[in-house]
C-alpha cells in the first residue's frame, strides 16, 4: 500500500507545484503576495467546465481555462496592482487589494454556479487504470504527472534560456537597473502575471477533472497549502516550490493513510514552524536566488 500511497502523494504534490509555482513566481519578481491566486485557480476550472458543458472538447476547454486564467491574472495586475505600484504602495496595499479581488472572483463564481458543486460530465476524460507490481495508476494520473513535468521544464527553460527570462531575472534583481538597461518592466510584470495565472488555471482544470469537484471555494485550501509550500521551499524559489509541493503531497497522503484522524494538518503546520525556526529563508532560499527569480 505504501507505494500506491506514494503515487497518490506525488500526483497531489505535482498539482500543488503547478499552483505554487505561479504564486512564487509573482512573489519572486514583484515581491508581492497575490492572495487572488486561489480565485484565479478556481476561475480556470470554471472556464473549462462551462466550455465543456457548452460542447467544447476537453483539450480545447483546458486551453481556454488556462488562457482565461492567465488573462484574468493580467487584468488583476492592470487594475489592482499596477496603480498601487505607481504610487509606491506595492506591498501591503497590494495584499489587501488581492484579498478584495479574490472575494470578487469567488462571489461571481458563487452566483454563476448557484453555490453548487460542479463536475465535468461523465466521459470527459477516459477512466482507465493500468496495473503493475500490484499498483494502480490511472491514465489521468499519468497525464497530470506528464503535464506538470512538461510545464515545469518549459518554465525553467523560459526563465533561464530566453531573453524574456533574462529580463524577468533582471527585473527581479533590480527593477531600476533593468529599466536603465532598456528592459520594459511593465511587459515583464504583464508576462509574469500571465504565466502565473495560466499555471493556476491549468492546475484548477486538472484538480477539477481529477477530483470530480469544481466549486467557488476550491481555491481556499490550495491557497493555504501554497503558503506552506513557498515558505518551506523558499519564497521565490522555483526548485524549492517543486520540492516542497511534492513533499507536502506525499506527507499529507501518508499521514492520512497511517496516522490518526486529523493529524495531517498538525504535522504540516508543525513542519512550517520548524522550517521558519531553523531556515527562515526556506529550505531552498539560497537556491531560489541562484535560480534567478528571487529578489535580492
Amino acid at each position: 500500500m505504501i507505494a500506491q500511497q506514494l503515487i497518490n502523494g506525488l500526483v497531489s504534490g505535482a498539482v500543488y507545484a503547478l499552483f505554487a509555482l505561479g504564486f512564487t513566481l509573482v512573489f519572486g519578481v514583484q515581491k508581492l503576495l497575490n492572495l487572488a491566486h486561489g480565485g484565479v485557480f478556481m476561475a480556470g476550472a470554471f472556464i473549462a467546465y462551462y466550455a465543456v458543458v457548452s460542447g467544447v472538447p476537453f483539450w480545447a476547454a483546458a486551453i481556454l481555462g488556462t488562457l482565461g486564467a492567465g488573462l484574468i491574472s493580467v487584468l488583476i495586475e492592470i487594475v489592482a496592482f499596477r496603480p498601487l505600484r505607481a504610487r509606491g504602495q506595492a506591498e501591503f496595499a497590494a495584499i489587501v487589494a488581492s484579498i478584495g479581488v479574490d472575494l470578487i472572483l469567488v462571489s461571481i463564481a458563487q452566483r454563476v454556479s448557484d453555490t453548487k458543486v460542479l463536475k465535468f460530465p461523465f466521459g470527459t476524460f477516459p477512466i482507465e487504470f493500468y496495473r503493475f507490481w500490484g499498483l494502480r495508476i490511472s491514465l489521468l494520473q499519468i497525464m497530470i504527472l506528464a503535464i506538470v513535468a512538461v510545464l515545469l521544464a518549459a518554465l525553467v527553460f523560459y526563465l533561464k534560456k530566453t531573453t524574456f527570462g533574462r529580463q524577468v531575472r533582471a527585473v527581479a534583481i533590480n527593477e531600476k537597473a533593468a529599466a536603465l538597461l532598456g528592459v520594459n518592466a511593465k511587459a515583464v510584470y504583464f508576462q509574469t502575471f500571465f504565466i502565473s495565472g495560466a499555471l493556476a488555471g491549468i492546475a484548477g482544470v486538472l484538480i477539477g477533472l481529477s477530483f470530480n469537484s469544481i466549486q467557488f471555494l476550491m481555491g481556499e485550501p490550495y491557497m493555504l497549502r501554497a503558503f506552506v509550500v513557498v515558505v518551506i521551499g523558499g519564497l521565490g524559489s522555483i526548485p524549492g516550490a517543486v520540492f516542497a509541493s511534492l513533499m507536502l503531497g506525499v506527507m499529507q497522503t501518508l499521514s492520512v493513510a497511517y496516522l490518526p484522524n486529523g493529524v495531517s494538518e498538525m504535522i504540516i503546520f508543525a513542519l512550517l514552524f520548524v522550517v521558519l525556526l531553523f531556515w527562515p529563508n526556506g529550505l531552498f532560499g539560497g537556491a531560489g536566488l541562484s535560480a534567478g527569480v528571487g529578489r535580492r
Partner: protein, 375 residues
C-alpha cells in the same frame, strides 16, 4: 309595545343564530429561505406548502367556507430580517402560526421570538434546541436521534454487517453528531467503526482514503457528507479499488438528485435514508407528485414533500382547535397532532410527548439511476 319589542328581539336573535356561521380565513405565514444559502431547502418547502394549502382549500378540508390564507415571506437566512418579519406578522391577530424559518441559527432566533410573542412556529430544521426555547416552537423534520437508527438497523439487521469504516465531515457539528450516532448504534449492536476518516467540506482529493480502505478489512463503509461530496468520495473509493461488494451507506443528506447526477454509476447500490421516496411511496404520495409536476413542471423533491406535510400538519391543528381558533388553541392542538396523512416517511405524522416529529424514514437505495425503497 314592550312585549312587541321583546318578541322582535327574540326573533332577530333566533334568526341570527340559525344563520350559517360566517366563513373564516385562517392566515399562516410561510417564512422560508427563498434566497441565500438555504434557498435550495426553503424554496422547495414553500412550493410544497403552497400546493398543500391550495388542495386543502379546494377540497374544503377545513369545513365549508373556511380556508387557509398563505402569506409567503423570505427569511433569506438572515436573522434580522427573520425577526422583523415574525414580529410584524405576529402583530396581526389573524395570523395563527408561522411555518419557518428554514434552518440554522435563524431558526433558533425565530423560535426565540415566537415564544416571546406567543405564536406557534414550526421551523423546517431538526435542531432540538428549537424545542428548548419554549412551548410555542416546534420542528418539522426529525432529529438525527430519530433518523440514524433507521440506517443503523438496516446495516445490522438487513445487511447483516457490523464493522464499518466511517468517512465524514469533521468541520460540521451536525455531521459529526450523525457519525457518532451511527458509530454508537454499531457499538450497541456488537459492532465497531473500523476506522474514522475525517474530511473537510472543501476537500476533494480522497485518493489516500480510497487506497487505505481498498487495503483494509471492513464490512461496510458509511459516508457522512453533503450529497455532491459524498458522490465524489464514493466515485474515488470505487476508482481506488475498494471491493465493489462492500456495502456503502449514508444518511439523509444523500437523498438528493445531485447525489445521482454527480455520482452516476459509482453510486449504484448505495443505501441511504430519506423522508421522501421520489415518485411517492403510496397513492397519496403519487397524487402529490403528479400535482406538483402539473404545477411546477418538475418532479417533487424531498423538501417540497416535507413542506407539503408541514402545511397539512398545521391545517390539522387549526381544524382541531375548533371554531374561531386562537393561537393558544392551535399550539395545544399541535402538541396532540397524531397520524396526520403526509407524503414523507411512513406516511403518518405525529408529535411525541416531547414535541419531536415522528413520521418515520424510508431506507432507500440507488438502482438504475433512481432512488427506490431498499428491501
Amino acid at each position: 309595545m314592550n312585549l312587541k319589542k321583546t318578541i322582535l328581539a327574540a326573533v332577530s336573535l333566533a334568526a341570527l343564530m340559525a344563520a350559517p356561521a360566517k366563513a373564516a380565513e385562517y392566515t399562516v405565514l410561510v417564512l422560508q429561505s427563498l434566497t441565500g444559502p438555504a434557498a435550495f431547502i426553503g424554496t422547495g418547502v414553500k412550493d410544497g406548502m403552497v400546493l398543500a394549502a391550495e388542495e386543502i382549500n379546494a377540497k374544503k378540508e377545513l369545513g365549508d367556507g373556511n380556508s387557509l390564507k398563505v402569506v409567503v415571506a423570505d427569511d433569506a437566512s438572515d436573522r434580522t430580517q427573520t425577526l422583523s418579519l415574525i414580529t410584524r406578522q405576529a402583530s396581526d391577530p389573524s395570523v395563527l402560526a408561522v411555518l419557518g424559518p428554514t434552518s440554522g441559527s435563524v431558526a433558533l432566533a425565530g423560535a426565540n421570538i415566537a415564544n416571546e410573542l406567543k405564536i406557534p412556529l414550526i421551523t423546517t430544521t431538526n435542531i432540538m434546541d428549537v424545542l428548548k426555547n419554549g412551548p410555542w416552537s416546534f420542528i418539522l423534520t426529525q432529529p438525527a436521534s430519530v433518523t440514524i437508527p433507521y440506517i443503523g438497523k438496516y446495516t445490522v439487521d438487513s445487511l447483516k454487517v457490523k464493522n464499518c469504516a466511517i468517512i465524514g465531515l469533521k468541520d460540521n457539528e451536525s455531521y459529526v453528531t450523525l457519525q457518532k450516532m451511527y458509530e454508537d448504534y454499531l457499538v450497541a449492536n456488537g459492532g465497531k467503526a473500523t476506522s474514522n476518516e475525517g474530511i473537510k467540506v472543501t476537500d476533494s482529493d480522497f485518493s489516500a482514503i480510497a487506497t487505505k480502505l481498498a487495503d483494509s478489512k471492513q464490512d461496510c463503509i458509511f459516508v457522512s457528507a453533503p450529497a455532491p461530496q459524498a458522490a465524489n468520495i464514493i466515485t474515488q473509493l470505487r476508482q481506488g479499488g475498494v471491493d465493489p461488494k462492500t456495502p456503502i451507506l449514508g444518511h439523509s443528506s444523500l437523498a438528493s438528485p445531485e447525489f445521482i447526477s454527480k455520482g452516476g454509476k459509482a453510486v449504484e447500490g448505495v443505501y441511504l435514508i430519506g423522508d421522501w421516496l421520489p415518485g411517492g411511496a403510496d397513492d397519496f404520495g403519487k397524487a402529490f407528485d403528479a400535482a406538483f409536476k402539473a404545477k411546477h413542471n418538475a418532479p417533487a423533491d424531498n423538501w417540497s414533500a416535507v413542506g407539503y406535510g408541514g402545511m397539512r400538519v398545521i391545517a390539522a391543528a387549526i381544524k382541531a382547535a375548533g371554531p374561531n381558533p386562537t393561537r393558544d388553541g392551535v399550539r395545544d392542538a399541535l402538541t396532540k397532532v397524531k397520524d396526520v396523512k403526509v407524503v414523507v416517511g411512513q406516511g403518518l405524522y405525529s408529535f411525541d410527548a416531547e414535541r419531536i416529529p415522528r413520521p418515520g424514514m424510508n431506507v432507500l437505495m440507488v438502482k438504475d439511476g433512481k432512488f427506490v425503497l431498499a428491501k
